[in-house]
Symmetry: C2
């Protein structure tokens, strides 16, 4: 009966672990997350009057060094891929399984906050801490990723899915460097980006924890946002052409004031987006009039249009209505209104199964949830092209982001990391 | 009976002149005016990419030299006053009478046309030619004035009425010089401007011929515009404050989009100016939104407001309505709308008697007329503060001005000079 003791030991061992897992529900360490977010938040080019750190800056490089150190301190095997993305790996029980990726980014917009992106990387490292503390090994290998230059256009995740165009390499970024130079400065190899590319099947799943950057969770008083998907974004430049004339000598009737027509269109765009049932948004964030003198009737107005929704069909129907309204307006006023398309990004849906695992994890943690779309873009939208994707939101105070006033409480951050951890564990066993 | 032949001679002489005046109605020389307008129009800093000549530039100085030469060629006694204004004088029969002034300006906006201002000076010189050719001497002394820097803010006429502020002397003009330096470069004396000042009673009347710079005469198919007055101009900066937010993550309901509110106000300003009976105009010619990114809901919009009318009461009531509308809009949307006044210029009326003399002169010349306000500013509005003022308009093709496309036909220019001449003659005898 030599087998029995061994078997018993195994059962005891298994039971002991299950007991820990079941009886003392594993939760993230609030103080640890907060101290790391604060430490990371102090790194940046404040000398330039920039609150945080834009991609490829000395601040960005310093922050990435800090993240590399953290990854190493929790036992991850760290490498930098050709795109400059930092990847920390932890072995799983079954080396033949594709890895589960957890991640986000640590670069920031100029004058940004200290939570956007950072929480996703610190939260992923927290999951590794929890695995270590509880002596757990997942079946799948795990990878924690700190993507490059998310704010400049998802550069690192674009590289990873093989989507970064050659033209983008020469683009000048917020910090003044080209993306090519920036990637090289982060330790990547812009001439061998193919080496960083992952394909469908290479990754088991991608999970990202992020602050909401909106006010829905706070308004609804919920702890956890379960992201349904990342909205598609269609953008245009709209050009209204009327007739420039003297503001003093031109009678009101018969004027073809491009700003008056553009203003009517701005109001109608807003009304259309408000009127249609659903959660679509439409925004005019830029407008310029020409010649732009107080005593001259504008002959030309140029403005932006940004339309977002989770459904491609809805995006098309909203734009169709706006276009139709603009055409009627132009015909009625004898002006012309042209639309020049800038971008057309399809929505990226979170996987249904992962969403239900997030919900289950939040329920177990006794946290309230809200399903919602992400109106902002994230690395997750790229990763969804090659792997099942799930995204967890935590509340942003006042719904504000991309400003130093951005704030998420330590408790909310810990809640997010706890749900991320349990979602990872369920996904691993699934 | 030695007296008789002498008396007869005098009567014959007088009759002969009256006969010329009555039988062959004096008309301006179309070819002469056209050739001088063209010659003057060739003078300018085209090397700078500027179509014409801004005040105080080398082109302006060259043009003033040309005008000085023309004045001398028609027998005027030419001086430059302390403000740099060129004044050509012709004696009248009665030296104790105050002079009648005829004039305009020869400086131009950057990239302007060749008729705005120039026609008034060339037309005044044409009147002197007609007096010379017809051996006529007026009772009143006459003065032809080429004012300084009209386009920069009526500088020369402001000097003449004692209205130029000390602060303006240091202002930088379109050509890069200060007004102080510019006046000195034109032969004026910026430290003795008081010597150029004329007071009420110093001038019998001021007459100005000008292109309409609007489309009323062309639209109504009339030859001569009888200016009722120069409109008052009230201008403001309007600041709309809402809430900046992410264009993707902020739901449509509850947004405080400063551009949407500003756009509603632009449309309402236009509607108010269109709806009220009268010829008031209201224009928003400038708008800027902040932060001004396509993916950010504008939190702030700043725009100009320019309101013009011949009546101070009307100006106040139009603004009152706009203000009331803005206040309601702000209250309804939870935004703030502030008005910062920039200028408040009262209307300047043409003298009723002079207007009737212009009408009479046009009737005699078998030219059709239209009474209308001047929506643009002119030196005449300053002169109206110290003397009876009359202004004659001729058609502008397409109503356009302040551009190289500005055009008035030689025939229309000659019509204007003919009416200017006969108005002068009637005024002189009045």
């Amino acid at each position: 009966m030599r087998i029995a003791p061994l078997l018993t030991a195994a059962i005891v061992l298994f039971s002991a672990r299950s007991a820990v897992y079941a009886q003392t529900f594993i939760v993230a360490n609030e103080a640890r997350i907060q101290s790391r977010i604060k430490a990371l938040g102090l790194i940046g080019d404040t000398s330039l009057g920039i609150r945080k750190r834009v991609a490829y800056s000395t601040g960005d490089i310093a922050a990435r060094k800090y993240i590399t150190g953290l990854m190493q301190s929790v036992g991850l095997s760290v490498r930098v891929d050709a795109g400059g993305n930092i990847i920390g790996s932890r072995k799983g029980k079954n080396a033949s399984l594709p890895p589960i990726l957890l991640g986000s980014h640590t670069d920031a917009v100029p004058n940004g906050g200290i939570y956007d992106g950072d929480l996703g990387v610190i939260g992923a490292i927290e999951c590794i801490e929890l695995l270590n503390e509880n002596h757990l090994v997942t079946d799948h290998p795990l990878e924690v990723v700190d993507f490059v230059d998310e704010e400049g256009g998802l550069t690192g995740s674009e590289v990873m899915i093989g989507g970064l165009t050659a033209a983008r390499l020469g683009a000048i970024t917020n910090g003044g460097k080209t993306i090519r130079q920036g990637i090289a400065d982060l330790g990547g190899d812009p001439d061998q980006l193919d080496k960083a590319v992952r394909r469908k099947g290479d990754i088991e799943a991608y999970l990202e924890l992020h602050i909401e950057q909106g006010g829905n969770l706070e308004r609804e008083n919920r702890d956890i946002g379960i992201v349904e998907g990342i909205v598609g974004l269609d953008s245009w430049t709209i050009e209204v052409t009327g007739t420039t004339n003297h503001a003093g000598t031109t009678p009101m009737p018969g004027r073809k004031d491009a700003l008056v027509i553009a203003s009517k269109l701005v109001v109608l765009v807003n009304e259309i987006a408000l009127r249609i049932p659903g959660r679509q948004v439409a925004t005019v964030g830029q407008i310029n009039v020409f010649p732009g003198a107080s005593n001259v009737i504008p002959g030309r107005a140029v403005m932006s249009l940004d339309v977002r929704d989770l459904s491609r069909q809805k995006l098309d129907s909203v734009f169709g209505l706006i276009r139709q309204t603009a055409d009627s307006l132009a015909a009625a006023t004898g002006t012309t209104i042209n639309f020049i398309r800038k971008t057309a990004a399809d929505p990226a849906m979170a996987e249904k199964k992962i969403r239900s695992l997030i919900t289950l994890s939040a329920d177990e943690a006794k946290l309230s949830t809200l399903s919602l779309p992400s109106g902002a873009g994230h690395d997750a939208q790229d990763m969804a092209r090659i792997a099942p994707m799930g995204m967890i939101f935590v509340p942003s105070k006042g719904g504000i982001s991309h400003t130093p006033e951005e704030y998420t409480s330590p408790q909310d951050m810990a809640h997010g990391a706890t749900v991320l951890f349990h979602t990872l564990m369920k996904l691993d066993k699934n």
